[in-house]
C-alpha cells in the first residue's frame, strides 16, 4: 500500500507486547546501505530521551500506527548521525533537482511503499511529491482524517518525481560524501540546462555543485551561466581549482569571466594557470569587450593555403581542437599573413589533392581588433557568416569571432 511521509509523522508506535512506545518524529535513509530503504525511525517519548527503531524491527505499518516485532528494551537510544538522510529535515520543504525534468523543485511530501520481507515490513521511498496533493496533505494532516485527505487528493492534478531522478543538493562537501550524493547525473545534462538549474539554487548550493563537477563540465556550465553569478562562484573557489576549470574554457570566455574578478583573486587564479593559457587570457583582457578584439577567440584552426585537403585533415586529426566549435579554417600565405578562410563543409566535399587556395570563400573578409562590435554584427548579417577572422596591422590573424559570440552580444544589448 502507498504511504506518505506526512501521514507517518506522529504515528503511534507499539512494541511486540502491544505496549505504547512513542510517536514517530522523523525517519532516515542510509544511502551508503540502500538508496531508497527507510533504515531508521526516530521515536519521541515526551520527556524521555528518544529511541531509534531499525527497519528490521518493524512488524507492520498502517496509517497512524506502527507495530514493532521486538520489545521496547531492544531499541537503541537515538544519536545524531550525519550519514543518515533525515526525510523531514533534509528532504521535506527543501529544493531538489529533477534530473529528468531538468529543473529545480521543492518537495511537498514523500511517497513510500511498504514491502514485506521475512517477518518484518520495510518502507521504500518511491517518489517525491512536488504538487498540490502533497501540499494539501501537509496543510490538513492532523486536522482532517487521512481517509478524507486521500479522497480529496485523488481529484487534484498529480506532480511527482521518481526517486531515481531526484538529485539532492547539499552544500557541505563532507556531508555530501557521507550521503553518497554524486552529481554524475547532472554531468549528463546539457551545460545550458545545468546552468539554468544552478541559477535557481542558493549561493552555497551553487558553490557546492560547481566544486564537485569535473573541470570540463564545470567550465562548460560557467560559460553558460549568468555572468553576475560566475564571478561570485569563481571568487569563492580555490584558485587552483578555478584555474583548472578556466583552462577547460575557451580563452575568450575565460577572459570575460576573469575580467570581473577583484584584482587579487584575478592574479591568484592567473598564477595557477599554465603559461600559455595565462598569456592568451591576459592578451584578450587588453581588448575593450565592445570591440572585435573583445569578442574574438584566440583558439582557432589555421593552415597554409598551399596545403591539400588530405594534409589539412591529417593535421586537424592531430590537433586538440574543440570540434563542436570548428566550422571554418583560417588560411595563411607564405608570410604568415591572412589569406582567406575555408568552411569545413567545403573541405568535406573537396577532392583529396585539392589545394586550400582553390576552396577559399569570397570575398576575403577580416577586421582589426579595435573595430567596433556593431561593425562585426553588420558583417555577420550581410555575408551570413559563421566565423570572422581578426587580423593585426601587419595582416597576421590574431583571433576569430564565432557566430555565438555575436548572438551573445545581441542578446546582451537587448
Amino acid at each position: 500500500m502507498e504511504l506518505y511521509a506526512t501521514e507517518l509523522m506522529g504515528a503511534k508506535v507499539f512494541d511486540a507486547q502491544g505496549h505504547y512506545v512513542g510517536r514517530i518524529r522523523e525517519f532516515f535513509i542510509e544511502p551508503a546501505d540502500q538508496p531508497n530503504r527507510v533504515s531508521h525511525f526516530l521515536l519521541s517519548r515526551g520527556n524521555f530521551p528518544p529511541l531509534v527503531a531499525r527497519h528490521d524491527q518493524i512488524a507492520s505499518i498502517i496509517v497512524g500506527t506502527v507495530r514493532l516485532n521486538v520489545s521496547e528494551r531492544a531499541l537503541a537510544l537515538y544519536e545524531p548521525n550525519e550519514s543518515l538522510l533525515a526525510v523531514q529535515k533534509d528532504l521535506l520543504d527543501q529544493q531538489i533537482i529533477d534530473t529528468r525534468g531538468r529543473k529545480v523543485v521543492r518537495v511537498n511530501d514523500v511517497d513510500l511503499v511498504e514491502q514485506r520481507t521475512n517477518g518484518n515490513t520495510e518502507l521504500r521511498l518511491t517518489q517525491v511529491d512536488v504538487g498540490l496533493p502533497g501540499a494539501v496533505r501537509r496543510l490538513l494532516h492532523g486536522f482532517v482524517s487521512p481517509a478524507v485527505i486521500r479522497k480529496l487528493q485523488r481529484r487534484l492534478p498529480q506532480s511527482t518525481i521518481r526517486w531515481e531522478f531526484v538529485n539532492l543538493v547539499e552544500p557541505d562537501p563532507l556531508r555530501r560524501v557521507k550521503l553518497r550524493i554524486t552529481h554524475e547525473k547532472l554531468e549528463d545534462l546539457h551545460p545550458a540546462d545545468l546552468a539554468d538549474i544552478i541559477e535557481d539554487l542558493s549561493a552555497a548550493e551553487r558553490q557546492g555543485i560547481i566544486a564537485s563537477l569535473d573541470e570540463q563540465t564545470a567550465g562548460a556550465v560557467l560559460a553558460e551561466l549568468d555572468e553576475r553569478l560566475t564571478t561570485q562562484i569563481v571568487e569563492k573557489l580555490d584558485p587552483g581549482k578555478a584555474a583548472d576549470i578556466l583552462e577547460e574554457m575557451a580563452p575568450d570566455a575565460a577572459a570575460d569571466l576573469l575580467a570581473d574578478l577583484p584584482k587579487r583573486t584575478f592574479d591568484e587564479v592567473l598564477d595557477e594557470m599554465p603559461g600559455q593559457e595565462a598569456r592568451e587570457v591576459r592578451e584578450l583582457l587588453e581588448f575593450d569587450p565592445s570591440t572585435a578584439g573583445g569578442m574574438m577567440n584566440t583558439d582557432f584552426a589555421f593552415v597554409s593555403e598551399a596545403s591539400t585537403r588530405d594534409e589539412v585533415l591529417q593535421w586537424l586529426r592531430e590537433q586538440e581542437l574543440n570540434l563542436d566549435q570548428l566550422d571554418t579554417i583560417v588560411l595563411l600565405d607564405s608570410a604568415a599573413q591572412f589569406a582567406g578562410t575555408v568552411s569545413v563543409s567545403r573541405l568535406l566535399l573537396a577532392a583529396p589533392e585539392q589545394r586550400m587556395s582553390e576552396l577559399k570563400m569570397e570575398p576575403l573578409l577580416s577586421l582589426e581588433p579595435n573595430a567596433d562590435g556593431d561593425e562585426v554584427v553588420e558583417l555577420f548579417d550581410k555575408y551570413n557568416l559563421r566565423t570572422l577572422t581578426v587580423i593585426d596591422k601587419s595582416r597576421h590573424p590574431v583571433g576569430a569571432i564565432a557566430v555565438d559570440d555575436v548572438v551573445s552580444r545581441l542578446v546582451k544589448s537587448q
Binding site: V130, A135, L229, R279, T298, A336, D392, G399
Partner: protein, 439 residues
Amino acid sequence: MDWRAIANRFATVRSGGTDLQKRIRGLRRRLTLLLAVVGPGLITSNVDNDAGGISTYTQAGAHYGYALLWSLIPMTIALYVTEEMCARMGVITGKGLSDLIREEFGFRPTFFVMITGFFVDLANVVAEFAGVAAAMEIFHVSKYIAVPIAAVVVWVLVLKGTYRQVEVIFFFACGFYVTYIASAFMAKPDWLLAARATVIPSVQFNSNYLLMLTGLIGTTIAPWQFFYLQAGFVEKKVGPRQYPQARADVLVGSISCMVIVFFIIVCTAATLYAHGFTNITEAKDAAKALIPLAGPWAGYLFAFGLLNASVFAASILPLSTAHVICEGLGFEAGIDHKFEDAKIFYGLYTVLIAVGAGVVLLPNAPLWKILIFSQVGNGIWLPVVVIFILLLVNRRDLMGDYVNTVTFNIIAWVTAIFMIALTLFLTYAAIFMPSAPSP
C-alpha cells in the same frame, strides 16, 4: 606558420591601452557595477508612499501641521534597519524570504503567511485602484474609464515586459515623486518652523495624536515590502561583494522615501492646517483644497503624484504577491515562464488586479471597510514576518559572518517590538474605535 611567432606579434597589438581610455573604462565599469545593484531598495521604499500612505500623510499635515514631522527621523531608522536585514539575507543566501521561511519553518507557517499576505495585499490593491480613481477625479476623468485603463496597462506591462524594462519604468515612477516637492514649494511653507519640528520631538498625549502617529508608521512599513525587496536583490543576482552597494541602495531608498513624506506633510501643513481645513481625510480632498490655496498647479501636481504612486504600487503589489506565494508554496513563478508552465502564478496575478480594480468600480463598494481590513491585516501580518526575519538573519548556518551584530540586534529588536506594539494598537483602534481618523 609558427604559433609562437604569431602570438608574439599578436602581443604587440593593443587597443584602448592609453591611460585616459583606461580611466574612462574604469569609471564606466564602476557605474555599471553600481547600476547592477541599485533598484530594489529605492523602488521598495518609494512604493511605501502609495495611495494609502499619501492619504495618511495628508491627514497628518492637515490635522497637526508640522507637529508630527519629528517622527520621520526614527521612522527612517526603523525602515532602514528592517529593510537592510532583508537585503543582507537576499545577498548572502541568494534566496527569497518566502523560500527561507519555507525551508526553516516548514509548510504550515509558510502557508499561513502566504494566505494572510494574499488577502492583505488584495485589500491594498483595492486601495491603490481607489487612489487612481480619486486622482483622476481631480482631472475630471470618470473612474469607469480611468480604473479599467490603469488595470489593463498594469497587467500588460508585467506580462509583456522583462524584469529590466519593468525596473526602468519603476525608476521613472520614483522620479515623479518630485511633484510633491514642487507642490510643497508652491505652498510657501515656513521652512524654519518645519526644520525645527523635524529635529525637536513634540509628543502630545492624546489618543487621536497617538493614533495618527501609529498610522504614519503603519502605512510606511508594510510587511509585503520585505518580500519584494529581498526577491529584488536575488533576481538581480547581487552577491556578497556588492553588499555595500546594496546597503547604500536601501539607505538611499529609506531616506528618499522619508524626504517625500516630509514634503507632503509640509505642503498640507502650510495650506490646509494653516487655513483651518483640518477635517480632510483623503488625498483627493487635499488636492482640491490646494487649488484655491496654493494655485491650480499645486493641486494638479499633488493629484498627479497620487496617480503616479497608485499606479506604481498597483503594478508592484500584485506581481510581488503572486511571486511570493508561488515561491513559498513551490509553484513555478516569474514573468519569464510561459503561461502554461506557471498557471497559478498568472492566475493569482490576474485575480489580484481584476478583483482589485473591480471592487473600486462597484457602486456603493465598501471601500472604507476594505481599507480598515488592509490596515488590520498588515497589523497581524507584520509581527509574524518581522519575527521570522529576525530569527533567520541571526542563523549562522545561513548567514555565516553576516549575522546581526549585538548592537544591530538590539536596535532591530527594539524597532521590531516598538513597531509590533504600535501596529497592534492601530489594529485595535481600527476595530474598536470606528470614529477615529482614517489611517
